[in-house]
């Protein structure tokens, strides 16, 4: 199911990446890249494994520092913020990890409460309970509230991971390989959830994936990372309307093999 086309305001950037480079030793992962994420837009970053897609969102959230260039998130320069300012900015950014990164030693309820309890210290117990139940209901997993992460399936873990980020009501969502390792039906569910989050919470999102079905279903705009640079961008059809062998190979692998 393809998503309905939204009217994205291209004058309002929530993330601006300018001339950013990042290397790990001799491995130049990102080479002088530029990118904008617009308000309430779902931007898909496509690319093969190991091309620096996850590095990009870790740079945006300040988990890594760029070697060169500037990254502005909601008007603030990530590279120039101190630890406290960065933590405040991160409350506006939701990060859904590839392996969900749920805290093993906590139940689902405790996982969801954790960011709330630590960042909204004035909330009462009943307000916390309400927020947890609401967000859990939003991802359709109310029954899992007292379960441990080890008792959940891969798809359920992803949903709880997304719920944990949503509980702080972020303005920006970043999904790192949201459908990796999931069966096709669960992938459809997760894609539906990403679109639902965009509609319900009015979030602007970056979705890192190499899954073309996911890209087609959730992306308002797609950019393709090839050899450390954003070589192509546009709609799904525009991206693959090319003779570039690297792009064609990517397409063929996903849809033919």
């Amino acid at each position: 199911m393809e998503k309905a086309k939204l009217n994205i305001d291209h004058s309002q950037s929530v993330i601006e990446i300018r001339n950013v480079s990042k290397s790990f030793g001799d491995n130049h992962v990102l080479k002088n890249v530029n990118l904008d994420l617009y308000k309430e837009e779902n931007l898909v970053v496509l690319g093969r494994s190991g091309t620096g897609k996850s590095v990009l969102i870790k740079l945006i959230s300040g988990l890594l520092k760029p070697d060169e260039g500037a990254i502005d998130v909601l008007g603030e320069s990530v590279t120039e913020l101190n630890d406290r300012q960065l933590r405040e900015l991160r409350l506006k950014i939701g990060f859904s990890f590839q392996n969900s990164a749920l805290y093993d030693s906590m139940t689902v309820r405790e996982n969801l409460e954790f960011p709330l309890v630590r960042n909204k210290r004035k909330l009462t117990r009943s307000e916390i309970n309400y927020a947890v139940e609401e967000v859990l209901d939003g991802v359709g997993l109310s029954q899992a509230i007292n379960q441990m992460p080890s008792e959940l399936s891969g798809g359920q873990r992803k949903r709880i991971g997304i719920a944990r980020t949503l509980i702080l009501r972020p303005e920006i969502m970043m999904y790192d390989e949201p459908t990796a390792g999931l069966d096709p039906i669960t992938c459809l569910d997760i894609n539906g959830l990403i679109n639902e989050v965009q509609e319900r919470y009015k979030t602007s999102s970056i979705i890192i994936t190499h899954d073309l079905a996911c890209a087609k279903e959730v992306g308002d705009r797609i950019v393709m990372l090839l050899d450390g640079k954003f070589e192509r961008q546009g709609s799904f059809e525009e991206i693959f309307d090319t003779d570039d062998a690297r792009v064609r190979a990517f397409y063929n692998y996903n849809f033919i093999l």
Partner: protein, 252 residues
Amino acid sequence: MAKKLQTFFLEFANIHRFLLRFWRELVTPPYEFKEIIRQCYEIGYKSLPLISLTGFIVGFVFTKQSRPSLEEFGATSMLPSLISIAIVRALAPLVTALIASGKVGSQIGAELSSMNVTEQIDAMEVSGTNPYKYLIVSRILATTIGIPVLCFYVAGIGLLGGYLSMMSKDDLSFLSFFTQVFETIAFKDLGAMVLRAVIFGFTIGAVSCYCGYFSSKGTEGVGKAANAAVVASMFLVFIEEIIIVQVLSFFG
């Protein structure tokens, strides 16, 4: 060779930064009291069975083995004094530290390392929590507080083991044994024991947290971190013991 030296100095600088950050975060609010108490429970209370058994055996066996030497000089009545000095001055802090290095060190190393591998530390960071304060400071403080407490406990259990060992041969009352013990132990002995235990506790916490927090990614990294935490903690405990003994004997 040059590369090894470079790695050594980089590691040294990293440890330096790690410790400096600990002191900085320690004095900066907010304070993680709840987590510190939870870690004290995990580290202290959950180590009690192992610590109890080890402390008791050490006291019991030490008394058994010391007896023949004193018997040769007809000085078995000095046994309670000997046991108390040996346990309070050396055995209790050292045994507690070595047991804690194995049990607590490996636990902290493996736990932090697996959190690192599964991106749980990153998840904490992006959700506005300072993982250094929440995970590292609380654990180092818990070992620094918990190990001296355990050390007193081990000394008590060790002395009890010593008493039971003596009682099997001599007709000695509980009261007279412990009267002799407390007459022998000076306040400075207790002070030295606490000092040792605090240093050992801090070392075990800091080393284990460092090994876990900066472990390499992958499941192999978890095993390596747990192993490195135990080996490095034990090694440093012995080195520190030598230094402390020298320093204390210098001051009398």
